[in-house]
């Protein structure tokens, strides 16, 4: 049986000692975190640090190798397909590339989850879609094809689609990428307002320190395959940890390696090509 929507302060999403990877490669080890209703949690880390992998684990697209991922009180390792479908109906996801349906226009993209999951009248559906499009400033773009809008606009449409069902948990993968400063500020406030107004939990995967620190309740910093630090924006900003300081201030020197690590696969490739090291 599915647990009822969260009314209490029980975590919406909880990861305990989770390890994740693809094939022989382990991306993240021993990750533990929890997201409470109404909280905005920022997940930060360098490129390739495994932030998106973490999101895939939260949606059930990737199964944890070790540890448990609990979504709305259900252990995802034990969730069958119908259970997973039920849990996913209670969450919204903003994909890194937007992932809009190119055969549908802007309105139909936002209306898609409503048409699939709710039985609304045409008027109710139209009102709800236009309300969400208004929130991202694209009400008057409802009739446009996806090919006619810019990359930044596409991300805002994707944002409207992610929240149109007013889910209990929204996962945002790089919501600020490619946005101009005005859209960026509005989007950040929108994420915060959704959490405050609807009590939905938000997990924001981002590189944007200023905006995410302004709206987040908790910040998690991942790097080198593990969780490096976590805390409120204030405590993290004051942390003496050299890793945290280098990441937050963008210093070139420090414990965060800029170079991609040398792997046995790279060495084998180098030996095959005959290029001198």
């Amino acid at each position: 049986m599915l647990t009822p929507p969260q009314k209490s302060n029980q975590p919406v999403l909880r990861l305990e000692g989770v390890s994740l990877g693809y094939g022989d490669f382990t991306v993240l080890r021993e990750i533990s975190l929890e997201v409470l209703p109404g909280q905005v949690v920022a997940m930060m880390g360098g490129s390739g640090s495994g932030k998106t992998t973490l999101l895939r684990a939260a949606t059930g697209q990737l199964v944890a190798r070790h540890g448990t991922v609990t979504l709305f009180g259900q252990n995802l390792a034990h969730a069958d397909r119908p259970m997973l479908q039920s849990l996913r109906q209670r969450m919204g996801v903003l994909f890194q590339q937007g992932a809009l349906f190119t055969d549908l226009n802007v309105f139909e993209n936002v209306a898609f989850p409503l048409r699939e999951h709710l039985n609304l009248s045409a008027t109710q559906l139209s009102e709800r879609v236009l309300e969400k499009l208004s929130a991202v400033g694209l009400r008057a773009a409802a009739h446009l094809k996806v090919s006619e809008i810019s990359g930044g606009m596409a991300r805002r449409v994707a944002l409207a689609r992610a929240v149109v069902l007013e889910p209990e948990l929204v996962l945002y993968d790089e919501p600020f990428a490619g946005l101009d400063p005005i859209s960026l500020g509005i989007t950040a406030r929108l994420i915060r307002n959704l959490s405050d107004r609807l009590g939905c939990a938000s997990v924001v995967i981002t590189h944007d320190i200023a905006e995410s620190f302004a709206i987040a309740d908790q910040v998690y910093l991942v790097g080198q395959g593990e969780l490096k630090a976590h805390g409120t924006p204030v405590t993290l900003g004051a942390s003496p940890d050299p890793y945290v300081q280098q990441f937050l201030h963008g210093h070139a020197d420090g414990p965060v390696a800029f170079d991609y690590p040398v792997t046995p696969a790279f060495e084998a490739w180098l030996a095959r090509t005959g290029t001198p090291p």
Binding site: F95, T102, E116
Partner: protein, 261 residues
């Protein structure tokens, strides 16, 4: 050592092909299992019939007309030797309804609508659209693949019928209007010689089976495509090659089963 390497490569190749066959069968069974949406939301299927039919309609009409012209000419040259050119209508109709209609339509369908389906699905995969659907708790097999599959299966016999009809008109234009065969003989020989069940129904059954094969291959190739421009291009090519070979192979088998004594 080289023999061992050869055997290893052979084993790997056989294993990969068997895995592919297993995946293909599983994909087909998944489509059938989740076909309930066809009854719940028939509009999704009718939209696909419309799109897929429109993709191929022009090329089917033009090809059908020219095939009819050629059949009319070649048929006349051959029948004229035996003084039985009145049988031209029968020859054209039988050739089209039994063989050329279903087969050429399926080959054109693979090249036109099949490639479109593969490219569309492949690009949806590359653009994370299928993954987005999945995390929205919408099953992409049920919502995207099943309507396209049944759309293709329904569109194929309709297109084959259009092809045969236009081809017969092409044969009539050449035989009756240009060469001057008696129009009454052309149509009456056709009416007497073409059997509703043995010829027309078997042709329809053939085109339905070709529709299943080509649409299934097109969707499977899109589903399995690497999410890159090169991967989608390769998948599109595989749809045409595999789809065409499947049609020709199946045609031989079906002809042997349907028209043997």
């Amino acid at each position: 050592m080289s023999q061992l390497k050869f055997l290893t490569l052979l084993g790997k190749s056989v294993r990969l092909r068997l895995t592919g066959l297993g995946l293909f069968t599983r994909f087909f069974l998944m489509l059938l299992q989740r076909s309930g949406i066809v009854l719940k939301r028939p509009r999704l299927v009718s939209q696909q019939v419309h799109f897929i039919g429109n993709f191929s309609l022009l090329i089917i009409i033009v090809s059908g007309l020219f095939v009819g012209f050629v059949l009319g000419l070649q048929g006349y040259y051959t029948l004229n030797r035996y003084g039985s050119e009145e049988a031209l209508g029968l020859l054209v109709a039988l050739s089209l309804t039994r063989e050329l209609g279903p087969v050429i339509t399926a080959l054109l369908f693979a090249g036109r609508a099949g490639t479109s389906l593969t490219a569309e699905i492949g690009l949806m995969k590359a653009g994370e659209q299928l993954a987005a659907m999945e995390v929205m708790a919408v099953d992409p097999i049920r919502r995207v693949f099943v309507p396209r599959f049944w759309g293709g299966v329904i569109a194929m016999p309709v297109l084959a019928a259009v092809f045969s009809m236009v081809g017969i008109i092409g044969g009539w234009v050449v035989g009756v209007l240009l060469i001057g065969i008696d129009t009454g003989a052309f149509w009456s020989q056709m009416q007497n010689g073409v059997d509703l069940y043995k010829d027309i129904l078997n042709g329809v059954i053939k085109s339905i089976i070709f529709g299943i094969a080509v649409t299934l291959i097109a969707l499977y190739e899109g589903w399995q495509a690497s999410p890159t421009p090169e991967g989608v291009a390769r998948a599109t090519t595989r749809t045409v090659v595999t789809g065409s070979l499947a049609v020709l192979g199946l045609d031989f088998l079906l002809t042997a089963l349907m028209f043997s004594n």
